[in-house]
Symmetry: C2
Subunit: 205 residues, 2 copies
């Protein structure tokens, strides 16, 4: 049994681990209920080998999710969140959308395998990023303060996920997605009594 707790020592073993992680990401993004056998096959690896590197299905799923979140979060580091909170939100949406499209139904798989609260905990960094932006926007008076901040964050999250669903149902064109999401969220975040902003161009398209 290869190093389940430690890093595997041999080069091919490490390569296999990576292959498994990537295959799992692909499979779980397509089908949240993908079986271990399916993932192993797709990684070009025996099922036994997979169990050699990951104790459980749950452990594997967690590893994949952690990886995906880290990558997504790293990509968000490049986004400029200064200036007008509305424009910053548009930029944030644009980048986040790329991640959301990639991960697909991975989070559904995670929710089933790890429980929703664990998934939420793993999301801590990206979520707090949005929270900070929302708070700033509220302080500046450009985002509404009549609803809980957590609700606004959740709405952003859900609108994006909804766009992913509409996308692969063919009811939303891939090129329109980012703009549509931004337009919707920006409007939803607008304080009552103030006009809904247009989507800043060149940002979300």
């Amino acid at each position: 049994m290869p190093g389940v707790t430690q890093q595997p020592q041999r080069a091919d073993a490490r390569r296999n681990v990576q292959a498994i992680l990537e295959a799992a990401a692909v499979c779980l993004s397509r089908d949240p209920d993908a079986s271990v056998a399916e993932i192993a096959r797709s990684a070009g690896v025996g099922r036994v080998t997979l169990y050699g590197h990951f104790e459980n299905r749950a452990v594997l799923v967690e590893a994949v999710v952690v990886r995906a979140i880290e990558e997504g979060d790293a990509a968000l580091d490049a986004v400029d969140l200064s200036g007008d909170a509305r424009e910053a939100l548009a930029r944030l949406v644009r980048q986040s959308w790329l991640t959301v499209v990639q991960v697909g139904s991975l989070l559904t798989a995670a929710a089933e395998a790890l429980g929703p609260e664990r998934v939420l905990a793993l999301h801590e960094r990206p979520v707090s990023r949005v929270e900070r932006l929302v708070d700033r926007g509220r302080a500046d008076g450009v985002f509404r303060s009549d609803l809980p901040a957590s609700w606004l964050v959740g709405t952003l999250h859900r609108v994006m996920h909804g766009a992913a669903v509409e996308l692969d149902a063919g009811r939303l064109a891939p090129d329109d997605a980012a703009t549509t999401i931004t337009a919707t969220v920006l409007a939803a975040f607008t304080p009552p009594g103030t006009p809904v902003p247009a989507v800043p161009d060149g940002v979300a398209r």
Copy 2:
């Protein structure tokens, strides 16, 4: 084997069918993967008896969903959709929310067991109701026309479902739900450049 195709003839049989349908509604609203055994037990009925009345798990699920949709749709008949489309939307949300809370994760179960397209087909009546209202609002210029109508309808649907999630995660107070949903959707539907309306009071609370 009791009348699987025909109506059962004896009173207790009909009573059992009703009990099963109600128990299934409750169980599936809680857990979309509830087993047949669980449902039967919760209905105070043997598993065999259940299979006497419903060939499949799928058939049972479909029966429950059809029932729930019919009831929900019937309740919507009472809603006044005339006048200002924004106020009509608020009234519609208020009534729809009651149904959404009740059905919980039933639709998730339906999607797994029947496939998303079948579920969508069963929703035809309530969906077209919303579509008509959205179209009217757009014609009157109070709802935005820069996004697909299907997207707006989907957004309404998803915000409601999101509220249900937030609700039983304890992040949203039951009394605030309808108002929060209305405020969010009303804003999301507002055309760019025009002010976001306040939630009409006495309507959503």
